[in-house]
């Protein structure tokens, strides 16, 4: 059934923005904090710039690094290894929409530079990276010595 809309006809874009902001604040209040884990991503750059959040996982076979990089062109991401240090650099570019028309700006942009120190149990030469749908995944196979192995026990 149609909502009463007498107020909507008078709505200016400022009102729409207020409504939008109230919705968003309420949603954030009701939802658990998404970014946390006790540690904010370290940034070498200014605090207001954006930096991709990173999760690190492991399986018996490999270590996986997952970075959220929405809006970053994968071709411009620079992923490199020096010793045990993995570095991730790139830029998240804003769109080309004209600034004066911006009613709500929540997304952050800018150049990023993350560094991750990994143990020598991974074989960096075998690293493989994939970036799709705004997610970068780096897979680092573990060296054979680091993989869990069972030791058979001979009956005595």
């Amino acid at each position: 059934m149609p909502r009463s809309s007498h107020w909507r006809r008078d709505a200016t874009s400022a009102f729409h923005l207020l409504q939008h902001e109230l919705n968003r604040l309420l949603e954030e209040y009701l939802q658990p904090a998404r970014f946390g884990g006790g540690e904010s991503p370290p940034t070498d750059l200014d605090a207001a710039a954006w930096s991709p959040p990173i999760d690190v996982y492991e399986t018996p076979e490999e270590v996986l690094i997952v970075a959220e990089v929405p809006g970053v062109d994968p071709a411009t991401i620079d992923l490199a290894v020096t010793g045990n240090l993995l570095t991730l650099r790139g830029v998240k570019e804003p769109g080309n929409l004209p600034e004066p028309l911006l009613q709500g700006r929540e997304r952050l942009f800018g150049a990023f530079h993350r560094q991750i120190t990994l143990s020598s149990e991974v074989d960096f030469d075998q690293a493989a990276a994939d970036a799709s749908q705004g997610v970068l995944t780096v897979r680092l196979p573990k060296r054979s010595a680091a993989k869990p192995r069972t030791i058979p026990i001979r009956p005595g």
Binding site: V63, L97, Q133
Partner: protein, 141 residues
Amino acid sequence: MSGENTRIRVRIGSERVESGVPNAAAETVPTIRETFTPPIDIHDGPEGLTLEADLPGATERDLDVQLEDNVLSLYARIDPPVPEGARLLHEEFRLGDYQRSFILSDEVDRDGITAELTNGVLRLFLPKSDRARTRRIEIKS
């Protein structure tokens, strides 16, 4: 409804999804999925509203956008990027789906809605219907 070049399905009104067409939000999932509010930029231009949402991990197949009664809702179902059973060593973001709703103040020309998903960013254009546009009134002297 949506343009020829749009592969993202934008549902208008309370239309039901035909069988065979994936609908991320209505699908029954065995586990409770955490949902988060994605950051969205809104540009309000004379032609219409453009929304840009950061939805890393979203795919066209699992993205559901609905416009009903001037309420725009979006839901993106996200598959985990790592195999099941992977052990988390360091966490800066949590895995989950994205959901957000808006009340739109202007009427939308539904035939002109476009949606595209590139590098995890959803860009949605909602053109204002003719009725909602500002019309210049000629002053004759």
